[in-house]
Symmetry: C2
Subunit: 318 residues, 2 copies
Amino acid sequence: MMRFAIIGTSSISEKFIDALKSTKSCEAYALLSRDKNKGKRFVEKFEIEKLYTNIEEMLKDKDIQAVYIASPNGKHFEQAKLSLEAGKNVICEKPIVPTVKEFDILKEIAIKNKVVLMEAMRPTTNPNFKLIKENLYKIGAIRQVMLKYCQYSSKYDLLKVGEVRNIFDKNMSGGALYDIGVYPLYFTLAMFGEPKEYIGSNYLLSSGVDGCGTILLKYSDKIGVISYSKITDEKTPSEIIGEDGSIVINKVSAVKGITIKYRDGREEKIEIDTYENDMRYEIEEFVKIIEEGKVESTLNSFTTSRKCVEIMETLANR
Amino acid sequence: MMRFAIIGTSSISEKFIDALKSTKSCEAYALLSRDKNKGKRFVEKFEIEKLYTNIEEMLKDKDIQAVYIASPNGKHFEQAKLSLEAGKNVICEKPIVPTVKEFDILKEIAIKNKVVLMEAMRPTTNPNFKLIKENLYKIGAIRQVMLKYCQYSSKYDLLKVGEVRNIFDKNMSGGALYDIGVYPLYFTLAMFGEPKEYIGSNYLLSSGVDGCGTILLKYSDKIGVISYSKITDEKTPSEIIGEDGSIVINKVSAVKGITIKYRDGREEKIEIDTYENDMRYEIEEFVKIIEEGKVESTLNSFTTSRKCVEIMETLANR
């Protein structure tokens, strides 16, 4: 049984714990919460053995093999660093850290201490991601990649009346790119590798973060267009476009609704049934690399995470 | 009866003549063709009174009030210049000229000689363009404009075996942006005005012209994304995206298939029946400004054409 410590008590932690339980081989063993009462209610609800309010103390616990970090984005770096230094394997929610400098520090510690560091990016660990990759050859030479994630946030209504929540708070690394644009961006980088060049444009909200934006990824043989928004909804799907047809994807973040539309009009649905809770895939990948004694996932690699951090650091909120 | 001279004998000229006839108030009176035999067959087929093989000679004909230019792109400037200098009203096929310098020369002559200079851009003269404009308020603040025109060209198959046709010939101002990208670009500029800034990326073919590309138009309050291609097909529609919903457009170049999709799930089809031959709209607009004694169309204005030329000159084929 692999024992996890969970940092953070929001709904994403709940979903992670649910996925952990479904694996049968993993356990949510400890919780870190600064608020003792909140922590007590949480550990009781999810039958977690240990409750800690201090991270240094928690990291001394030899029964913990892995730490899942789902605290606010601004806390990721410090918590991941301490965990890796304590010899724990770390799976950290997206976006992993706001700067390349911080990413490189974490990576170095992981390599030195021979522990896993992995960004908890779901789409790329979903088997339908691999399925898309395997079907790319069917649409000929890829020329345009147009992926999007646009979802109107109710927090935007609050912002309009002057209430700034975390997700639109610049000090919390908020904004559309960091929060959801990261999905189509990471997807593209993991599927097609690093672009030669990238440029972008966004619309900044009153709180100083981007409400929506677009990134152009320039490859030598294709163009990537990443669109993201927390102030509009998407009404048309994403597309990977080749000379012989397109792979249309209804929802990039869940890798769902995938159809190949050939130039000659033929259509082919490709998709396999996935776990209802798709966080199980990233957990299985994480556990697999721990067991193999590696420090890095090939699905959510250092290279992809680092490039994603670099692009976001360059283009977000400016 | 307003008498037109037609320059060029391709299918676009045939369509223009068909539209001219449908107006009842206009006539295809003269044809200019360097190839006398080709010209003869053409004037006979379309019952055109005069055939000229020399433009200077043709422009001396006092019965000609207007010149329609549908020659290869590389000929537009010289032919438009001579026509305007001869005091003729000019309607010139898109893309009007390849450089801003040439555009400014034509504009000056038109103003000086009090004759009309108008780019023959169809979508903006289509009443459904105005209808979209009038319905924009329904989708709230516009944040993203994602328009595309992607159509696989059979000439691309020829290029692959080494045969370079006009449309992929750099010397003929060929390429995807000049040929069809101009439609969504012009549409956006006419609908939303000049952007603060623009950047782009494209994929260059062996012949040195762009096979496909994307332009980012940066506005202070929104982002425009123009995608175009002659080496892939489009499988998803264009969209104008606001905070309260989207206006989805199936075919930007014909302004067809228009649905408002509200954020709350409601849908509203907006579209009026149009002339089967939609070139009639640009002819009606052109005739109207001649009759009003103006030199410029408000639908296809100097400002829009000039900005479109500038952006294409900056971004095409490099």
